[in-house]
């Protein structure tokens, strides 16, 4: 049943925590959010490369040449750090975010989930790196 008149208690205006954005535990939180910029840029850099692959040999070679510039190498070095950071942080969340059970089925123990994720990441990285580097196919 609704009250006859609204109560006098009002919600306090939201306040940023003292340590936001780069203090204490907020540092990792903010950096994780900021990797969004890196991923957006990486998506478009890969899009440009794949687009030029469809445009012919000259366009593809021009992309490979561009990647040799110090700007692109620095960008990819920062990106690698960012991607590894996202992977480690997300994989640490993943086991904690599982439902306790779905019907009668319980998820595997957290260390098993974590080990599977890292094995998948390392395995796919190794396999695709070998393919891209000309080791197989």
């Amino acid at each position: 049943m609704a009250p006859s008149k609204p109560g006098s208690t009002r919600t306090a205006p939201p306040q940023l925590p003292d340590q936001f954005p780069f203090g204490g535990r907020y540092l990792a939180y903010t950096l994780f959010d900021l990797t969004g910029i890196l991923y957006l840029l990486l998506g478009f850099v890969v899009l440009c490369a794949v687009w030029s692959l469809g445009s012919g040999e000259a366009a593809w070679n021009s992309v490979l040449d561009r990647h040799r510039s110090i700007f692109y190498i620095a960008f990819h070095a920062i990106s690698l750090v960012g991607v590894i950071f996202v992977g480690i942080r997300f994989f640490s969340f993943f086991p904690k975010a599982q439902l306790p059970r779905i019907g009668p089925v319980k998820p595997p123990p957290k260390p098993v989930i974590l080990a599977t994720l890292y094995a998948l990441w390392i395995g796919v990285t190794a396999f695709l790196s070998i393919v891209l580097a000309g080791g197989i196919f």
Binding site: F20, P21, T30, F32, D33, L34, T35, G36, I37, L38, Y39, L40, L41, L42, G43, F44, V46, L47, A49, V50, W51, L53, G54, G56, E57, W60, N61, L64, H67, R68, Y72, I73, F75, H76, A77, S79, L80, V83, I84, V86, G87, F90, F94, L120, W121, V124, T125, A126, F127, L128, S129, V131, L132, A133, G134, F137
Partner: protein
């Protein structure tokens, strides 16, 4: 009436989550080899000569991987940038910023489909 973005929230979260999980898994070897090892001369450039790159990229599995490699990080990036902007600037501009960022990810995803089809 529900805001259209609220209706799309499950789809956006799905693409965001896969952008983190699969995007990270796929971006790592790309950045390692194409972004660093080949430009630094650790891996010979012939490894991704035009003929070989086109052969790998035009295979059906290659096309699917390239599509995921482009589109999923765009959705991860758009959604995380949206929340960064909310954290730093408040939610007042979110009604404008969020559709713009998701539009950018949508355009990039459509272009990714076209890019992998035309290899």
């Amino acid at each position: 009436m529900k805001h259209p973005l609220l209706k799309l929230e499950p789809l956006i979260w799905l693409l965001f989550g896969q952008g983190i999980l699969l995007g990270t898994i796929l971006l790592t070897p790309w950045v390692l080899v194409v972004g660093l090892a080949i430009p630094l001369g650790i891996v010979p450039a012939d490894a991704l000569s035009y003929e070989r790159a086109a052969m790998l990229g035009s295979h059906i599995i290659g096309r699917v991987i390239l599509l995921g490699l482009i589109a999923l990080p765009l959705w991860k990036g758009a959604h995380h940038m949206r929340h960064t902007l909310i954290d730093f600037g408040g939610a007042e501009r979110d009604a404008l910023v969020a559709p713009l960022l998701y539009l950018l990810a949508t355009i990039g995803s459509v272009m990714a489909v076209v890019a992998v089809v035309r290899i």
